[in-house]
Structures are given as C-alpha cells and as structure tokens.
C-alpha cells in the first residue's frame, strides 16, 4: 500500500498501542537497552553496496534523540524500549543468551522469530521507520551524512531547508 495524499486519513500506528512495562531481568546486567536497540538497528538496516553505510546514517544518535524528543509521546518511547526487552527475552528463549551476545545469523533468526508475532512485527516496523528517518531526514538532525541517502534514491530535497532542528 502506498496511499498517502493531502487528504489525511485516520492514523492508527503501532504507536497507539499501550506499551506494557515488563520487569527488568538479569539479562540487562550485561546489555543496556540502547546497546540492544542500536545492534537491532544495525541488523535491520542492511549492507547493500550502493546504499548509505550504517555509519553515515548515524541511527544510534538519532534514536537517542527520538527517545528524548518533545513531540514523541511517552508511550511511544516506552514501546521502543520495551521492544528491546522483548527481543532479549526471545533471544534468551532461543539461545539462552542476550541479543548482543548472539552471532549475526542467530540475531537474524531471532528477528525472524519475533516477526511472527504481532508485537514483533509492529516493533520492527517502528524501528525501521526511525532507521529510514535517519537515512533520509534532513542533515540538520545529524543524520543522512553528506546527503548520502538522498543521493542513493536520486531525491532532490525541497527548498528552503530547515535552519534549525525541531527537537
């Protein structure tokens, strides 16, 4: 589906979901939530040669910005973080190790496994949205280094560009 026009229709995204707060467990002794989220971003982004590099998109810093953003509501922030907890639980169940301790192929298997659950698919969708905001957002946000994302897709930015970031 690629329906999106000036006619703005009902938006009900994963963000509408009420996030559950699960108790922290010992597996977080060795893995901070941001480390887990950042590695998941790496695994979700990809490595195609002609695409911007993971370094160029600066998605970890961007995610940190999102997690403190004035216009991202608290439920959404909680939902992103809870996803890291759930991802680790899945990793523990499959491999008895936290996500960041898994091999690359084990991590992909873990992502494939959570994608079969509604929550998992929604969380991956949310993560991808913020990853591609970092790939294709304005450079004033510290992302899309050298406009590599726009070059990749032959995209011409609209003018004028922003003079300051909305945080």
């Amino acid at each position: 589906m690629f329906l999106k026009t000036r006619r703005i229709f009902l938006k009900k995204t994963a963000f509408s979901s009420t996030a559950l707060v699960l108790p922290h467990t010992e597996l977080f002794a060795s893995a901070s939530i941001l480390d887990t989220l950042s590695l998941a971003q790496r695994d979700l982004y990809g490595d195609l040669e002609n695409a911007p590099s993971f370094k160029e998109i600066n998605s970890r810093a961007y995610l940190s910005l999102i997690l403190t953003h004035s216009r991202v509501d608290e439920d959404s922030k909680k939902y992103i973080k809870n996803g890291a907890i759930w991802l680790n639980e899945e990793a523990m169940q499959l491999y008895t190790k936290p996500y960041i301790k898994l091999s690359s192929s084990e991590r992909q298997k873990t992502l494939e496994s959570i994608a079969t659950y509604t929550w998992g698919e929604n969380w991956i969708d949310t993560m991808l949205r913020f990853i591609y905001e970092a790939v294709l957002g304005d450079t004033i946000y510290g992302v899309n280094k050298n406009e590599s994302g726009w070059s990749w897709l032959n995209h011409l930015s609209g003018l004028p560009r922003p003079k300051e970031a909305l945080l």
Binding site: K4, R7, L10, G46, D73, L111, H155
Partner: protein
Amino acid sequence: MKYDVCIVGSGAGASPIAYELSNAGFNVVVLEKGKYYKEEDFSKDELAVSRRDKFIPLLKDEQHVINSREEDGTIDRYEGAKSGWNFWNGSMVGGSSNLMSGYFHKMQKNDFALKSVYGEIEGANVEDWPISLDDLDPYYEKVKRVVGVSGDGMEYRALEVNGATKWFDESCKELGYKSFNTPRAILSTPTLGRNSCSYSNFCGSYGCATGAKGSARAALLQKCDAKIISEAFVYKLDSDETEITKAHYYDKDMKSHSIDAKIFIVAAQAVESSRLLLNSKNEHFPNGLANNSGQVGKNLIFSGGGVGTGRLNKDNFSEDEFKELMTPGLFFNRSLQDWYEYEKGGKKYKGGTIDFLFEHSNIISRASREFYDENGNIMWGDKLQKKIHNTLTTSRVLTFEVFNDWLPTDHTFVSIDDKVKDKYGVAVGAINLYGHKRDVEVGEHLASKAEKVLEKMGATEISIEISSSPPPNLVAGGCRFGVDAKSSVLNKNCKAHELDNLYVTDASFMPTGGSVPYTWTIYANSFRVAEHLIRIV
C-alpha cells in the same frame, strides 16, 4: 477599548472579513490560538512537518474525543491523546490554508439545491442552501483576483506541469473523458505583492516559503491592518439575551484577557467553532450560545470519497520519456468532472470531482511504504534496501483523489466531552462520526472511472481506498445556515438566528459540502458576509 469587529480564528473563513473591514476603515482584532509563522519560518523539513506534526498541538495538551458509530449502532470511543486520532489541521495564523494544496473548484449550480434537485435521501438530513450559485459567484470571482487562482480561464496563467500530463490527456481522450487543468490557489507569476511558485516539490502539508500559495495569511492578513493577536485561545463568549458582549481568551502564559466589540465573528474551524458556542453556556442560553434550537454542532460533514494510486514504471517508457516523468517540482494538475452528475439504474445521482496529482514527494513516507513484501510480510536488511531503491528510482506513483458529498445525518455531530479537559481546563470537543452508505457508493463509482485512466496509462499496482473515513482537513457544517431558525443556526448572511451580533463564517455554515474541496467556497462566502457587514456596521 471597544473594537468594531472581533474575529475568533484566522483561516479562510475569518481572513476575508479582517481584510475587507480593516481596509474599509473599521477597527478589527483577530484572535488566533496558534503561532504567527511567516514565509521565513517555513522550510521543507519532512521530519518536523510530516513526521513530528509540527503544526498540530501536542495531543496531551489539546485533543478531541472521537465517537465512531458502527453499522450495528454500537459506538467506539477514542480519546485523541491515547489513540493519536485528531482533527487538528494547521494551528497557526492563517489556519489550515497555510498547508492546503490549493485545489480550487467552484461548487456547481445543483450543489446549492441538492434536496430540490435529487430529492430526499433516507437517513440523511439534506437541505438546500438559502443562497444560489448566482449569489456566490461574484465572490468566487473576487477570490480569483484577490487571493489569486491560476489555471486555464483563471485570473493568472496556469502553473507549469510535468510532461506526463500529455499521456494522461491522451488516455482520457481515448476513453471519452474531458480532462482539464486543475485551478490552483498558487501564483504562477509574481503579483499581488507576493512571489510566484518556486516549484519546490513540497506543497500540500507544508507552509509556503515564497508566498505564492494563497493562504489566508499571505493573501489577506499580511495585506491589511487588522490587529492579530496570536497564541490567544478563546475559551468563552459572554452574552446577554440578544448580543455577545465579550470574548475571553488565554494567552500563552495562561493569563486571561477579554475583548469588547460590536460584532463577533467565530471562524475557528468547524469543530472548534461549535465547541466554543457549546462551551459558552449562560442563563440566556443554557445549551450553549445560539443553541436554543439545539442545532449547534449538528450535521457535521466531511468530504466523502477517498484516494487511489497507480505506479508508472520505467519499462513502459523510452529513456527520454522516463526522464520527463521523473522531473521533480512540476505539478500534475489534472481533474475530471465528467460524473459530477450521473445516472445509474435509471436514477440520477450527484457525483463529484476527481483530482489527479503525483504522489507527495516526502521521501521518508515513500520509503516506508516499501516495508512489506507482496504477501504482506515485513522485510528488512539488504532485501528491503534493494526494494526501496528499485521502486523509488524506476517508477513514479500517480494519485487520484475523489471528492463527493458526505451526507449530513443525525449521527455525525460535534458535542462536548466533559470527561476530558485540555491544558486550559476547558472540556474538549467530541466528534461523533457515522458515514451514510450512499457516500461510499458514489465514491466507488467515481473511483472506477479514475481507475480506467490509470489502466489506460499502463499503471501497475493500482490501489483504491474509498471509505467513510473522515478526512480531518475537509470538515464543514455544525452551524448550518438556512431560512428556518428551528432547523438551522445561522441566517443566510451567516448571522446567528438567536443573537444580533454573532456571525459564524468558517465552513460551519455549509448544509452540504458540494463535491469539491471547500476552501474556495469558504473564502467566497466570507467575502460575501464581509460585504454585508460593511453595509450594516
């Protein structure tokens, strides 16, 4: 001090009155809830405007409650702060006209007499307008000149269009359809003290940095001496038995102020105008101002219809043709009104308008639409990167939008939800929704015609979404005008039947919406009311 006129709101329904009366020498004040952004404040920052919704209030501070009525009569309640569902659209000086695409079509003769021409429809509260096209047409013409409308036969020459429009026109001709250049409220040449369009490739949803777009702010408020007080939320109007006496507002520091005036104009957008009247109860009007008839908030309408898309692929074109198709910036600007009225099964139906346009240039949104494979499974990694690159560099999406009547019913109206308060401590507006089945039937008929054009052009992945989902940027009704004070809120000059100095001039006045986007009609009607006010003030 006492102003001649106090206007609540600053959009398309408010600004012609501010412009005309202040230029005629009257003392006018405009109270606007949002900020005062000007050309230099606007940029094409997708993250701020489209992803973080810069121009709508934070929903935890200001929200709506939505009560959606299902076919079986059950009602689902959604609080905006929890669901994300809201009807804000351009909270700033100039209102949503800052963010419009400016697709301007006049209403047609029969739109003013829907009940007389097409008859009653079961389950719908259709009424004729108390004025005709002849009454409104001089003001449509005034909008062409003063706000600025470009296009064939318009005041200003048509905007530049993409070469792909010639394939569209050829396809329509083969199908026997009459395509025409869509009039736009965008200046194609520098005039009226404003710049022309820069073809920035980002128009709808974005503020215009050149001033070419005919927003109420750029075209009218910045061209008159009306006093504009921004970040002023009007929370209550006081009245005696016959007149409004004061408007009370909170400034950005939550300090309360009041305004005295001879005439009060409410034009805060359809939902908020009804909310203000309903929240302004007093001993004379225990059900809300001008609401002893019980009509305030009733018969809220939207634009019926929906959208469709088709993908034009590189394989179908020569190298030069494809390059032409992918040229950014230029508009598509094509419309069809062949089925504004049509017959089906021996019965005459009111149809509507189909506008064709390129998919919005927002690159993050376009990439995000590729996250799922053809079976609906989420993708990521190299596979997703490849899909995004391939789709976005070897094709362009053509979109169409269908506009047909959303029939007014007893179940679509504005009320007050006393359980939820905004940051000012004022009860929020509740939007009660129900779509008449006729709306979808007509929308589907029109979409099937648009689909044929896309097929003829060789588009793939044709997708259509016609539904009774209400578009929050196309809202009207709630204080309809009419001859009978028992079944309407306003008289034909948009003055409240029950109060001598209260006018409502945003889209609230419309008993039916026509089958076109509303803005040209709202502007025209507001110029009409302004002329009346100049005579009587």
